[in-house]
């Protein structure tokens, strides 16, 4: 997978645990030890109560589509062969919203409010990306 041609995150603090989780097949989120708020993106500070204390928790990995778009133009050459592709804002059940792709779903089938669950695709030997697919009934 050395020829992976799309942008990759830089792994370090405070996001290392998030990406380690993806590699292990789970979404991990920081939870504030003082007020209970989940954090995303990873941060040293709780933006609700300014606490510096947090614990990493395993997310259920399920949520709903808050909004979505379909890319018909690649803004990076690595995505050229994937257009048209779906990007969505996903509301996880824990109360955080993140950007990800919707996969295993025809474009006509995606909708706001659709229930989705996380899937994990290795990009390189070191890094696995979290995507989402529709929850099967």
């Amino acid at each position: 997978m050395a020829d992976y041609a799309k942008p990759l995150p830089i792994i370090g603090e405070p996001n290392r645990e998030f990406w380690d989780g993806c590699k292990a097949g789970e979404i991990r989120l920081q939870r504030c030890e003082d007020c209970g708020q989940f954090r995303y993106p990873p941060s040293p500070l709780c933006r609700q109560c300014l606490s510096l204390k947090s614990t990493w928790m395993k997310s259920k990995g399920t949520g709903t589509v808050f909004s979505y778009v379909v890319y018909h133009q690649a803004f990076h050459k690595g995505f050229q062969e994937e257009i048209p592709y779906i990007v969505a804002l996903i509301d996880l059940e824990e109360g955080v919203r993140l950007v990800s792709r919707i996969k295993n779903c025809p474009i006509e089938a995606v909708s706001i409010g659709m229930k989705v669950s996380a899937i994990f695709e290795p990009a390189t030997d070191e890094l696995t990306l979290p995507f989402f697919e529709p929850v099967k009934d």
Binding site: P7, Y68, V69, H72, F75, F79, L89
Partner: protein, 379 residues
């Protein structure tokens, strides 16, 4: 001092051509706009003791000082600001604050960029989306605004034809502006036939990419002597910045204008109905619709119908972006929204002049609906 006293004024404006300017760069464009604004105000260079600017992608370390040096100014107040498309208005705010506390007397606010033909050279600003958005292909501004448009459509039933009405109107206005990048009129059919970039946004929903610059001179009316042009007063000015990244936006359908606009109208002591002309930050068509609602020109959710009804055209209830805006005149981060408003209030706009314009609203929006600034000008 209260803004509504009218003592803080924009005394001069400067613009360069916009579009593809391969023989220019951010330095030459910024300097030419600054020079034009200083001369328009009728000030001597020695009277300018403040300069504010923006460190755009190709700018370098100590950017504002570099521009000052090139202008032959040793300022008593200068810095770069960084609020995306809200920056030009924020510069006016910072200029007024600096003058008010006595740091300086006459401030040039200048924005220049060569993003169309300048390529990437020494300066390279990262966007901060590298870990959370880029790996998922969520790249470029159209994606973020498409996310917003989709949600507005979902909540309020906004239709592509309504976005198209904004695009068609901006082009119509640009056709009356000699300094516009795209002057060929378009129809709603042209809009609907334009290719999807990031569904639901089409090519004609997206602003232009331009080389160009604009500048204004901010000063105090009671200290301004021998100005060349009638000064335009800053009557209201407010900022509100709801988030940085879209995943933490409190709303995808309400912008910072909902807060900043109320404050600015409150300062000016006027209501939205009294505005004669509005220069609304139009990075994407959906943002005109959202801001028409958030500023109270129509009810929430009715921005699409307001635009479709012809109210934003010259001759309509609220002429919007009389210069053609970012969508058709050119993208100079909203600085030309301010210069256009000033020229409208000075009655200098020729074929696109709003008759007897006395009060203008200007808005600025940066990031992905992340930053917002509101400016009310009057004569």
């Amino acid at each position: 001092m209260k803004l509504s006293s009218g003592n803080y004024v924009i005394a001069g404006v400067g613009e360069t051509p916009v579009g593809k300017l391969p023989n220019e760069d951010i330095v030459s464009l910024s300097l030419k706009a600054a020079k034009a604004a200083i001369e328009d105000a009728g000030l001597k260079k020695s009277e300018v003791d403040g300069l504010l600017t923006v460190k755009t992608r190709n700018a370098t370390f100590l950017w504002s000082i570099g521009l000052c040096e090139a202008l032959g100014i040793s300022p008593s107040f200068t810095t770069d600001l960084d609020l995306g498309g809200a920056t030009p208005i924020a510069m006016v705010a910072h200029a007024i604050g600096a003058i008010e506390i006595g740091l300086c007397r006459n401030v040039v606010c200048v924005f220049g960029d060569d993003r169309r033909t300048g390529g990437r050279h020494h300066g390279q600003l990262h966007r901060g989306t590298e870990d959370t958005e880029d790996p998922f292909g969520f790249l470029g501004a159209p994606g973020g605004y498409a996310m917003i448009a989709r949600r507005h459509m979902h909540e309020y039933g906004t239709r592509p034809e309504q976005l198209g009405a904004v695009a068609v109107t901006m082009r119509k206005h640009a056709s009356l502006n000699e300094n516009a990048q795209m002057r060929e009129p378009i129809t709603l059919e042209d809009y609907m036939a334009s290719r999807l970039i990031v569904d639901p946004l089409r090519l004609l929903d997206c602003c232009l990419v331009s080389d160009g610059a604009g500048a204004v001179v901010v000063t105090r009316r009671d200290q301004a002597r021998d100005l060349a042009k009638p000064p335009v007063s800053v009557l209201g000015l407010a900022e509100f910045h709801p988030h940085r990244f879209l995943s933490n936006a409190p709303s995808l359908t309400t912008s910072g204008a909902s807060v900043a606009g109320k404050r600015a109208f409150g300062q000016a002591g006027i209501s939205p109905e009294e505005i004669d002309v509005a220069e609304i930050y139009d990075c994407f068509t959906i943002m005109v619709i959202i801001q028409l609602e958030d500023y109270g020109f129509c009810r929430k959710g009715e921005g699409g119908a307001f635009a479709e009804g012809g109210h934003i055209e010259l001759g309509g209830k609220l002429p919007v972006n009389t210069h053609g805006g970012l969508l058709s005149q050119g993208h100079v981060d909203g600085m030309l929204h301010i210069t256009e408003a000033v020229k409208q209030l000075r009655g200098e706009c020729g074929k696109r002049q709003v008759r007897d314009a006395k009060l203008a609203l200007v808005s600025g929006n940066g990031g992905i609906m992340s930053t917002h600034a509101s400016l009310i000008l009057g004569r």
